[in-house]
Assembly symmetry: C2
Homo-oligomer: 161 residues x 2
DNA sequence: GCAGAGGTACTCGGATACGCGCTGTCCGAGTAAATTGGG
DNA sequence: CCCAATTTACTCGGACAGCGCGTATCCGAGTACCTCTGC
């Protein structure tokens, strides 16, 4: 189980967009140059962010992308969901109801949820909860503490006044 | 991000093997029939469990697989690791050090760990912790409470005395 | 009847094709800005 | 000088190939059991 490459890119893109001044759009090509990533493919990943409602797009000259919501309200969970969809990682196919096992189980156990599914979902919920508890705003603040120069230089590079 | 099908199979297989009497081996074909799954592919997944040290294999007539450890000591994490490897789901490729972003960052921020990686790893650790906290023994006990008949019939079907 | 050698059948193990989804790329639709001509 | 229509150039958006990992399968290596023969 490997997570999509796009998740890492999407997270860094949102963080970078938080450095652009309000009202200023950043093009996909600018972001690709900023991170030295293949332009068309990064562009595709950003479109996933747009479809998920995390970034707003503007076409034409002076167009590009900008955060659609304050960075303090964007969680890691939001980005992960936007890039790789809302489907749970563990999918229970109810094999306990198939074959001999299915014929052996009585009605009580059939009605109850699969206990293995419950256990796996419990772990996945802990993962999602932890992702939802961390906002990109917190990460940006920490980064400002560690390296104020990076944020300052990035703001200038993205054309903020 | 979808988890391997084999994880679900492996979990159910270990649970089923816990119903076999000590010293009795269950063949891969028996397990495939028990769950109505394709024999060769299920066999391959069980081999992953064997490589991970969860089940012991015996060749020849009356051979097959048996749990290598008490079911109370086998956690969901063990099975997940055995099937899909120990690699973390989120892999940080340090794109912050590439392109313009890499040139803008100073030494302090370069030495520090990527904060996005830390956040993602934090969530993944919560997931792993929850998986490691649940043993198949607990699940089997719950299942015995919900449906004692299933456990009883399965023990008979697997040839336990 | 018993012991041992040989044969047999059964099981696991690694090596081998196939398919779907992530990866990577392109060109067209739409839009805002710049330009130019007229009033 | 100001305004408006037109042109232009720029950006996003969806549609299109390529590749790697998971899916699915097969046959060979090894072993325990069974059988048969000789004592």
């Amino acid at each position: 189980m490997r997570m999509n490459q796009g998740v890492e890119w999407g997270l860094h893109v949102c963080l970078a967009l938080s450095w652009a001044a309000p009202g200023v759009s950043v093009t996909a090509d600018q972001l690709a140059e900023y991170f030295d990533l293949p332009k068309p493919y990064l562009h595709k990943q950003i479109r996933s962010l747009a479809r998920g409602g995390l970034v707003a797009s503007a076409t034409g000259p002076r167009g590009g992308y900008a955060l659609a919501r304050p960075v303090e309200t964007i969680t890691l969970m939001d980005v992960v969901t936007a890039i790789q969809g809302p489907d749970p990682a563990f999918l229970c196919t109810e094999i306990r109801h198939r074959g001999v096992s299915g014929r052996l189980s009585d009605e009580r156990s059939s009605d109850a949820r699969c206990l293995i599914e419950q256990g796996m979902l419990r772990a996945e919920m802990a993962w999602r909860r932890e992702l939802a508890a961390q906002t990109l705003g917190q990460i940006r603040d920490q980064l400002d503490d560690v390296s104020p120069a990076l944020a300052r230089h990035s703001r200038r590079w993205f054309g903020s006044p």
